[in-house]
Symmetry: C2
Amino acid sequence: MEVQFLGTGAGVPSKERNVSSIALMLLQEINEIWLFDCGEATQHKILHTSIKPRKINKIFITHMHGDHIFGLPGLLSSRSFQGGVDELTVYGPKGIKSYISTSLELSGTHLTYPLTIIEIEEGKVCEDNNFIVTCKQLEHGIPCYGYRIIEKDLPGELQVDKLKEQGIPPGPVYRDIKENDTVTLSDGRVINRKDYIGPNKKGRVISILGDTKETWQNQSFVEGSDLLIHEATFDQEKVELANDYFHSTTAQAAQLAKDSNVRRLLLTHISSRYQHDDVPQLLSEATQVFSNTELVYDLYHTRILRNDMER
Amino acid sequence: MEVQFLGTGAGVPSKERNVSSIALMLLQEINEIWLFDCGEATQHKILHTSIKPRKINKIFITHMHGDHIFGLPGLLSSRSFQGGVDELTVYGPKGIKSYISTSLELSGTHLTYPLTIIEIEEGKVCEDNNFIVTCKQLEHGIPCYGYRIIEKDLPGELQVDKLKEQGIPPGPVYRDIKENDTVTLSDGRVINRKDYIGPNKKGRVISILGDTKETWQNQSFVEGSDLLIHEATFDQEKVELANDYFHSTTAQAAQLAKDSNVRRLLLTHISSRYQHDDVPQLLSEATQVFSNTELVYDLYHTRILRNDMER
Ligand SMILES: [Zn+2]
Ligand SMILES: [Zn+2]
């Protein structure tokens, strides 16, 4: 499970930061890539990564502001041009269907793959064998959602030593024991899996919020996340500006991470008013509140490890 | 009068070439910049030029394919974000109005400047004191236009030596003579301007075609252009592919330039199948037919001089 940022700016692209898009790479888990938002030139940024557009099969849109959606028609077209055939599903607020279908129709774009567009409401967005995604409305002046990606717990390891103690030698039977509640051995003994399996491996939780002003109502939604990705459009001095424009500051994002027992915080959606030199100050405003914070940049890439592993 | 290419690729962006957009810079003439097409990430390319989005006040769209229009909503929004207040007019085929208004409405974009969108038909597109723009349908499977930008002739130089011979000394009267058909001097003599003015300075003509397959019908439209900008999606070996997909080859574009007495040809809209190393071969296919040809690249920039001046 890895995350790569394709755009970390706010509102307009700059030479340093493109507008919003985040790739959640679930290649080891389910051989899929999920995008969160798709600002203009997301497909251009992808050219500088290892991401194959045909591997992207879910796109989650947080809200309809242009810096979060204007790259969608181009990405969808290019995925087709490059011979993508696997189904792609786009989840987003009301209006996303009309935006995509109008853009594709008027440009005469015929996709080579099935495209499903789902307009979401608060609650469960989708579920497969490995993941559940839920969403919650944030406070951004227009409908805007945060997504919580919940990895299901994995069964624990087979306790090989214990099996050997009972005189059960390694062999295909070990897989039978792992995959079935009970197994009858050739000698007639009945083995209950629960007696020979370690504790579940806790699934990871990633919360990716769209643009939002500070509100205590986001707390329970991101509670206990292994990773929280949060906007930090403004520095702490501009807290009123942030409030007026339905955005957050560095320190506000850090406070949410702290109050919600998050393990790790990544700050993105940085206003183009800030230059490279401003980053240390922005970051320190956050780390003073919540130390395990990073302020990311375009093409920043990281692995999301389980709670019990070192980062 | 200068031209800069913001994207010289076809269909999909590559690391080397972005999708289509061309800036015609008329800063010395009328302090305006005109764009021809606006593929995705045109505004990103502009960040690497001296072009100010607020100076762009006309955008001409050749056709509705995504690689020619998907950068429009973002450019229009950012021009607003950056405080543009001057009117902007977009000219394009039927559908352009619906595309732009849907994108802006659904993204909640409110522009700070007046935007006019005009759906064009063959014939005159617009005219001001200095320029006339006309358009013609090409052959591209969907409605697709070429634009001919005609600079109006400028009056010739005042023949100062001849005035002096007649005993008329330099002074404000020279400007009167230049600006009026007849002037009565203080001594009662009547001066006819036509007797003291050199020949008109011929205005320049630039033809910028959208995507098109080869057809003799484009000849009269580009006839005598000082500069022809033409697509060359394919090399000469792929002439059938070009035909099937309503595109042109290198040599076909050169043949049109030759047959139409064009002075100079710039080839663009190069398929992403070609790499940097293929350029010499592509170019030589064209120069064998029409020697004054260049194959342009992203951010290529050139001045368009008058016929009587060196390039
Ligand atoms: Zn927003
Ligand atoms: Zn086309």
